[in-house]
Symmetry: C2
Subunit: 322 residues, 2 copies
């Protein structure tokens, strides 16, 4: 939950005067998103989201994120569409922050996704990858394999506070990942954070993808590996192969994986687990005492990583030959 920056009525009126959205009718902070401040905006033109980009988002990346959403929406991907002001610009400033208005997407995120939802997710991810293929801007993945060792260095001394032996476990796994990370797989624009709370459904139909603020250029199959971790494990931490199968079937109905991608999946899944393990570990160890926001449990991702270490090949994820 997050509203970090307050916006006064005067600032908002001035900001909106650059747009053709009619009079302001309502404005409420939304308790979603952990990186930015989000507001529900109601004007005579309808309902919108106003996002203020807080300091964890680099201002230089915003043209990539906003351009990508517009590019995808233009190609039929259901995602928020940035609203341009009368001067053609979607990226503006309010209350000392970069800010943009995006369209309001109906839909609910699923607390307990089922296999059919994993299939829809896979299809939508494949469609997103295809629609982004001709997106002209580039952004490196700041949280890929090269970043993991320096990220771990920020938490390594205290990592055993989370779980005895975790530091040694991560150090060994990092060596493996750095040695084994694939580099010749198909790449393109990936979402990189497609957790259930970033995917909306309406009556079991996928109605939109949101939160493109980790999107970047990287291996396409790595995006699938992120989803595998985020969607296909049960609350009891066991892997649900039916969900895995559905995810891959959905994805491959749009874009079949190459043999090399299939072979690399266990390594990619270990890397995706490492990436979220490390950011959660850092957040866990740096959260202020007594803070209202409970950081997410890094141990969940250590367990997923151990599962992937034991996987023989992609068939164990439910990925059959096509």
């Amino acid at each position: 939950m997050a509203v970090y920056t307050d916006v006064t009525d005067g600032e908002l009126e001035a900001f909106l005067s650059a747009y053709d959205l009619g009079a302001l009718l309502s404005f409420k902070g939304i308790a979603e998103g952990v990186e930015n401040s989000n507001f529900l905006l109601h004007t005579e033109a309808g309902y919108f989201i106003l996002t203020l980009y807080e300091k964890r988002v680099a201002a230089g990346d915003l043209p990539f994120f906003l351009g990508l959403m517009e590019h995808l929406a233009d190609r039929g991907v259901r995602c928020p569409l940035p609203v341009r002001a009368r001067d053609g610009e979607a990226l503006r400033r309010i209350a000392g922050r970069p800010a943009a208005i995006i369209s309001f997407l109906d839909g609910m995120w699923l607390r307990r996704p089922q296999p059919q939802h994993c299939a829809s997710l896979g299809r939508a991810l494949g469609e997103m990858h295809q629609a982004a293929a001709d997106f002209p801007l580039r952004r490196a993945n700041a949280l890929s394999v090269a970043a993991w060792r320096p990220l771990f260095a920020l938490s390594s001394e205290r990592s055993d506070e989370v779980e005895p032996g975790l530091g040694e476990f991560v150090a060994r796994e990092l060596e493996f990942l750095e040695r084994s990370w694939p580099d010749a797989l198909p790449d393109g624009v990936i979402h990189a954070d497609l957790f259930p709370d970033n995917v909306f459904f309406l009556k079991n139909r996928l109605s939109g993808l949101i939160d493109f603020y980790f999107a970047c250029n990287d291996l396409l199959a790595y995006d699938l590996a992120v989803c595998l971790n985020a969607w296909c494990f049960e609350p009891d931490r066991s892997f649900n192969v039916t969900k895995g199968r559905a995810l891959f079937q959905g994805y491959q109905s749009v874009r079949p994986l190459t043999a090399a991608e299939r072979d690399a999946l266990p390594v990619l899944a270990r890397g995706a687990a490492m990436r979220f393990l490390l950011t959660r570990l850092y957040d866990w160890l740096t959260v202020p005492e007594g803070a209202l926001v409970t950081p997410k449990d890094p141990a969940e991702y250590a367990r997923k990583l151990r599962f992937h270490q034991k996987v023989g090949d992609a068939a164990d994820y439910g990925l059959g030959l096509r």
Copy 2:
């Protein structure tokens, strides 16, 4: 900002099936309100607010609050209207909490109200007092003069941490208030918490009063004293007599004050300042280290109290004879 209780999509679907509101389209936590969890709810029937009542609100008081909103809305007061389910009940349960759906009110709260807004506020308060005159339920004010000494006892030992000498200052003032508190003034249902963030405006027109969860039976003029403190001081802490005059003119255009009410205003204003000083003092001293929510400054209300101690009579607030 607050969403204390998460609601799953399954719980929400089941909850909504009791209403005639059509299919669920969207559901987002709102970062407003410090006592309850509030969600923006979009269904085929429109936009609504779903409120889950957290433990600081006594479940036994909810029929009073919801009944009052319905009573006022029926009489033309612009305030949220509780939505009844098909069985006629507006008060239900979800996620283990009492809950209600209320109508969504357009409007913005003013960060910097001007005298014209104080006049509108006064008028709306007078209209609310009149519209509530025949409301049949009763609820005692749990935060009136009798409650202040026990409330202070929870913070008295540490009150000098906020400001040297504050404990002694409050103790002396409590003696004065207990001795001087009026009891024969006109009473009725009061809002008791009509701060700027509970009053919506659209293009300088008052569009609604919200958050009736402190409403109770008490002296009508005490409600005005709460507003005087909350609306008529400047950011530099000085009293703005133009705003005071506007507030009273607005109120008296609907319901003229009696001579006894006018005479009692300085004492009522001291009491209203004491009530918010004490709850802020308690919150200030009990907030967890490192919490994301900054508690409101109790010293602001100590300063207002000192101002009222020096007031000669109600004319100093801008309250002229009519």
